[in-house]
């Protein structure tokens, strides 16, 4: 015989509410992936299998939902983009970094576009765009530390800025959408470009 105490009832309710919240976020992200339009609350509700009212019970407005979806995407993206091969040779590090970055771009480009299109609506969204770019910058710094350490300022910073521009989400989007490159071909462009941009690797 199971006994429902007030605590288990509250926990169950909280879990259901969390699950609903999660499903709404996933519905929003899934709609973004399938359409270039920013989804409406009615579309999100329909996709998640809830009412529009349920959406607004969990998120006071669509900006709050976008912020929550962005945080969720960052957490997912960061989890699947741990730095690898940090101590590998030059070619291995370039390959590793490009594979990770390409995977992130492939998975999150629609989300990134929506985030950029709407960042004017909210300081919180703007700060997340800035944070994402800083993380990309720091990753490049980490992966190419041996080569970058041979440069003086401002050349070191200039090289990082150029690397960031070349491996931007929209750079990936253009290669894949406008020029019809396969994932492998697009990665090859980035690998060659990074190799050309980086200074020689110092002898160990």
């Amino acid at each position: 015989m199971s006994v429902s105490t007030p605590a288990t009832i509250v926990d169950g309710r909280r879990l259901r509410s969390e699950r609903t919240r999660q499903l709404i976020i996933e519905a929003y992200l899934s709609l973004l992936r399938n359409s270039k339009q920013v989804p409406t609350s009615a579309q999100i509700a329909e996709r998640a299998g809830y009412s529009v009212r349920s959406v607004f019970e969990r998120f006071p407005d669509l900006i709050s939902l976008r912020i929550a979806a962005t945080d969720y995407a960052f957490a997912q993206g960061t989890a699947s983009a741990q730095p690898r091969d940090l101590h590998g040779d030059r070619a291995t590090r370039i390959r590793s970094q490009v594979e990770t970055r390409a995977h992130t771009c492939e998975a999150w480009l629609p989300m990134w576009r929506a985030l950029n299109a709407n960042q004017g609506d909210s300081e919180e969204l703007k700060s997340r765009v800035r944070l994402a770019r800083e993380l990309i910058f720091r990753r490049l710094e980490l992966m190419y530390q041996p080569e970058l350490s041979t440069l003086d300022e401002p050349m070191r910073r200039y090289t990082l800025i150029a690397l960031e521009a070349l491996t931007d989400f929209e750079s990936w989007g253009r290669m894949r959408e406008n020029f019809g490159l396969s994932i492998e071909e697009a990665r090859a462009v980035w690998m060659q470009t990074i190799d050309r941009l980086l200074p020689p690797t110092p002898a160990a």
């Binding site: 090289t159 800025i161 521009a165 750079s171 462009v189 050309r196």
Partner: protein
């Protein structure tokens, strides 16, 4: 019957000329109104970075909202006209220079021109290239602007690009296009806080590294 002009012919001719002059005058005024509406749109975008409403455009141009929709069936048609105007102006101000100069001069010339273009047209680019769904004319023009940027670089860096295979050239052009994108410029200036000269220096160094060796 002579060939001399009879009074009635002269009157008819004068009145036809008058009609034509009136039509020409009307056409000129209409063209001027159209141009002022386009310029009002551009000025508003530069000031606010936002897509302006019909009421804002009308107020800035000094016409009624109705005047706008007499010349443009909808705001998308106005966006297309604004894009055409911007392309024409940008092309007029972007004559190819230093085509036969040495490598560094050509890179610097290209970067200065492109940096100046990004500086001038970034707000408009953002507004025009946002939400292109349902606007194939606009999509086509955005594609054309990208092509013009690529074609210009192909001309400026012809000696270097001619020295590599087609596949190699394609990879280099993809990289160069990403590098000199409007948003790449915007990040250097707005996010990383670089001056115009510093931003140009980033591009000059990067292009120099990306391009193959200049043939002797």
């Amino acid at each position: 019957m002579t060939d001399a002009i009879q009074p009635s012919d002269a009157t008819a001719s004068a009145s036809a000329e008058g009609r034509e002059a009136r039509i020409d005058g009307r056409r000129l005024r209409s063209e001027r109104t159209r141009r002022l509406i386009i310029e009002a749109y551009i000025a508003l975008v530069r000031e606010t970075g936002q897509m302006p409403t019909a009421a804002q455009i009308a107020e800035r141009a000094g016409y009624s909202v109705r005047s706008i929709f007499e010349r443009f069936p909808d705001l998308t048609a106005l966006r297309v006209a604004v894009t055409d105007y911007a392309i024409a102006e940008a092309r007029a101000n972007a004559a190819l220079r230093d085509l036969d100069a040495d490598r560094l001069t050509r890179i610097e010339s290209q970067v200065n021109q492109r940096g100046g273009g990004c500086e001038r047209w970034l707000p408009l680019w953002r507004v025009l290239s946002t939400d292109l769904s349902g606007a194939p004319d606009l999509q086509q023009r955005i594609g054309m602007i990208r092509q013009l940027v690529v074609m210009r670089m192909e001309m400026m860096f012809r000696p270097e690009l001619a020295s590599v295979s087609d596949a190699e050239r394609k990879k280099i052009m993809l990289a160069l296009e990403s590098l000199v994108d409007f948003e790449s410029w915007a990040r250097m200036r707005q996010l990383w806080g670089l001056s115009f000269e510093e931003a140009c220096a980033v591009w000059v160094k990067a292009i120099d590294r990306l391009l193959p060796q200049t043939p002797a």
